[in-house]
Point group: C2
Chain length 336, copies 2
């Protein structure tokens, strides 16, 4: 309600003194400090955020860009993540603003608007591409940022990512150990880093086992994309006995394809993300997920450290992938 000026006037003090008293500076006597604090409390005084931001040259805001593409947002608990991140940031005086991409605008323009308008102190990027123009822009501007997912940018930048390569490699090896020899991969769009690295993991495992990595089909990272890609693999003369899918959403689409094809129910399948609904599919969907808890807080910590100026190399987290054992990966290795 009140103003610093009004508060000072009512106390017979200068604006300076009141401001410094509230900030706990030592050059105001303990008695005055207490008096000021009480008055501020009683008046319900809160400093005007815009004024402080202008003066301190800090926006006290962090933006997260939400991709509007199909395929939703990757992680299932994305909102929880955002919420955790915002909560952690708030403890340090930062608020999280969400920056959706309006129709007809690029994510780059959003970044530009936020950064050049001094609207934010840092940014959080999700769904990175292998070559990500947002990353390049932010690096050129020198503004702190953290990505969810790596990129192939030559300059290092802070990120949190799951080790998709290792996860998909070991999932493939698991199928091989179970006797599978025709292991297919349902890949996401290869411009996305996560999709590419998952495919590389599958491919590496295949080659390690002396198998040709040719049963691969790419689709949109959606239920429909997985469905189409699976159908294509099932049309092959020698169709796969097991499928490693880039995402759970795609895996669920693939399950639908399997149901529509003779003997399809005999094909093993595994996804990635641990979507809640995976527990309800038939068969229940085996999957993988990134380890680590309270991811939101991790993002927030990295953002704060990036703002504090820590070098990017110290702000990179690669999390292990863990296997979620349900039932869909347990089909016999030999197709009908």
């Amino acid at each position: 309600m009140a103003n610093l000026k009004q508060l000072a006037q009512s106390l017979g003090l200068s604006i300076t003194t009141v401001s410094r008293a509230l900030d706990g500076y030592s050059d105001v006597s303990a008695a005055t400090r207490e008096r000021v604090r009480e008055a501020a409390e009683k008046a319900g005084y809160r400093p005007n955020a815009s004024a402080r931001r202008l003066r301190k040259q800090r926006a006290e805001l962090v933006a997260v860009t939400l991709p509007a593409d199909p395929g939703h947002i990757g992680p299932p608990h994305f909102l929880d993540m955002l919420s955790g991140c915002a909560e952690h940031l708030a403890a340090f005086g930062l608020n999280l603003v969400i920056a959706p991409v309006p129709r007809g605008e690029s994510e780059l323009e959003i970044c530009r608007r936020f950064v050049d308008g001094r609207r934010v102190d840092a940014m959080l990027l999700v769904r990175t591409k292998r070559r990500d123009e947002r990353v390049e822009f932010l690096q050129s501007r020198g503004i702190p940022f953290v990505t969810n997912g790596r990129t192939e940018s030559p300059a290092p930048h802070p990120y949190i990512d799951g080790d998709g390569f290792a996860g998909f490699r070991s999932a493939t090896l698991r199928f091989h150990a179970a006797g599978h020899r025709r292991i297919g991969h349902i890949a996401g769009p290869q411009e996305y880093y996560f999709a590419h690295v998952r495919r590389m993991g599958w491919q590496a495992a295949m080659e390690e086992c002396g198998l040709a990595p040719d049963l691969c089909s790419e689709g949109a990272p959606t239920e429909q994309g997985g469905y189409m890609a699976a159908l294509e693999l099932l049309r092959q003369p020698s169709r796969p006995t097991a499928l490693v899918c880039a995402t759970d959403e795609m895996a669920i689409g693939a399950l639908r394809a399997l149901r529509e094809v003779e003997g399809g129910y005999q094909i093993s399948i595994i996804g990635h993300d641990d979507l809640p609904m995976g527990a309800f599919t038939s068969p229940p969907l085996s999957t993988m997920r990134m380890t680590g808890e309270n991811l939101g807080a991790s993002f927030a910590t990295l953002l704060l450290r990036a703002i504090a100026g820590e070098p990017a190399e110290q702000l990179q987290e690669l999390h292990a992938i863990e296997f979620v054992d349900r039932d869909s990966h347990r089909r016999p290795p030999v197709a009908a």
Copy 2:
């Protein structure tokens, strides 16, 4: 990058003129206006947001509080809603900041922080209670806001809500028409408006049919809460042949309870929310959902109109509930 002052200097104009030229005022000649615009474009000039906000006495921000309680956030597409809302707001120069509730703090304190610190021009509230202290606070401060869900506040306020009463009443009547006579209700916490009004809808239908509304059990709005509540109803001497559940999450918990009880698979069930995973349960969960598309944009529009000063009475949307026909409501009306 650049400053209004620097830009003016480089053009040999005053700050005033540059500012007015960019804002398209008529008291700067077309030639100058164009010259300024070009220079601004070339310099990549964006007005400093904090400065403008301070001067215009507007925060250009809207906050949405995220409840941290169990039971998640009600609607399944909540993130999509937020995204749509943010996108629509952005078209009018407003950004959406998310305000999670830190542990140990009340939602009221959050509101206070945002409102009294002049951090926002308006607020968006979700998960209203019948008597909601946030609503009372915001009304007392006279700051514009819109709620997702009604309240029992004596003074009207803008809201968007589904007509839970009608939805649950007609779901109950549908069961009655199908021959059911023992229709139970799994209720959410009655302090929430949505939970209360849904129970009232069920109760009204029961009384219309001349049935006693005694098969009701309340639980937390979670899978576990629904499970527990269902078990309690199933322990009754004369157990229900159909269940109307306050939320899909609770309904899924109830389904689990039904599986664990002899003859439980014969009991009909319906939920509310249209969670994606409802399509995958067995049996697939019949449910209801609020009609209306691009809810986020509706919220944004209401917020903008509230900020513009329209009276609350004109800013209330009650949406019809539509039935989503899957399979779980089609069990025989007579229990084993």
